[in-house]
């Protein structure tokens, strides 16, 4: 089966510019996650969708970050305006269900988008 797709793979922008990332989850996966991974750290959850609704965005810097998942499939994550500290790899993941324990909760990760803010 096809895995989680993300684009672009790399992006370089200047601070105060805007940027958008796209994610296409595995077909049939209801739950979609966006993680931010800063160099030397583990992934940090930014936002979690269940179908097209947000279930957790407690760690999303809402003054500059936004995300949507129209029609409960693809998702976009936007940063406007970008800051130097936003330089990171942005990972998208999906799972069948939002629960962690069962086999349906296994998260499948995309290749990530590496963002560099100059």
């Amino acid at each position: 089966e096809a895995g989680v797709a993300q684009s672009p793979r790399y992006k370089i922008i200047e601070k105060r510019q805007s940027v958008a990332f796209w994610c296409n989850p595995i077909s049939g996966h209801a739950t979609l996650y966006w993680y931010q991974q800063i160099l030397g750290q583990g992934p940090k959850l930014l936002i979690q969708f269940q179908n097209n609704g947000v279930v957790d965005d407690s760690q999303l810097p809402k003054d500059r970050f936004s995300a949507e998942r129209l029609k409960g499939v693809d998702s976009t994550l936007k940063i406007q305006p970008a800051k130097l500290e936003d330089s990171a790899v942005y990972l998208c993941a999906s799972s069948l269900y939002p629960v962690i324990a069962g086999p349906g909760g296994k998260q499948f990760f995309g290749p990530g988008t590496r963002l560099t803010v100059l």
């Binding site: 583990g42 992934p43 962690i100 909760g105 290749p111």
Partner: protein, 115 residues
Amino acid sequence: AQRVTQPEKLLSVFKGAPVELKCNYSYSGSPELFWYVQYSRQRLQLLLRHISRESIKGFTADLNKGETSFHLKKPFAQEEDSAMYYCALGGSANAGGTSYGKLTFGQGTILTVHP
């Protein structure tokens, strides 16, 4: 609050030697623990989960609730085990009456197995 600590950023062993990657967690509820692995130029992927009590690629991990630890072990390391390993804690949360899981990752340990 959920927290995961991996005290070693780097770990080097020789092929055939035993390896142990340490993980400690902090969580007030009943935890679900996982190990994720990222090989060079590959995606982050699930290695094993404590609830399955499985052994994957020779790796095992035992949840010790008394010591709040979930160390990853392998008796004989192989060169192909070289990778970044993340311990992750799955906690439960609620939003609008819906229960969902939330993963918190540690900072990761880079394992290098020398020939």
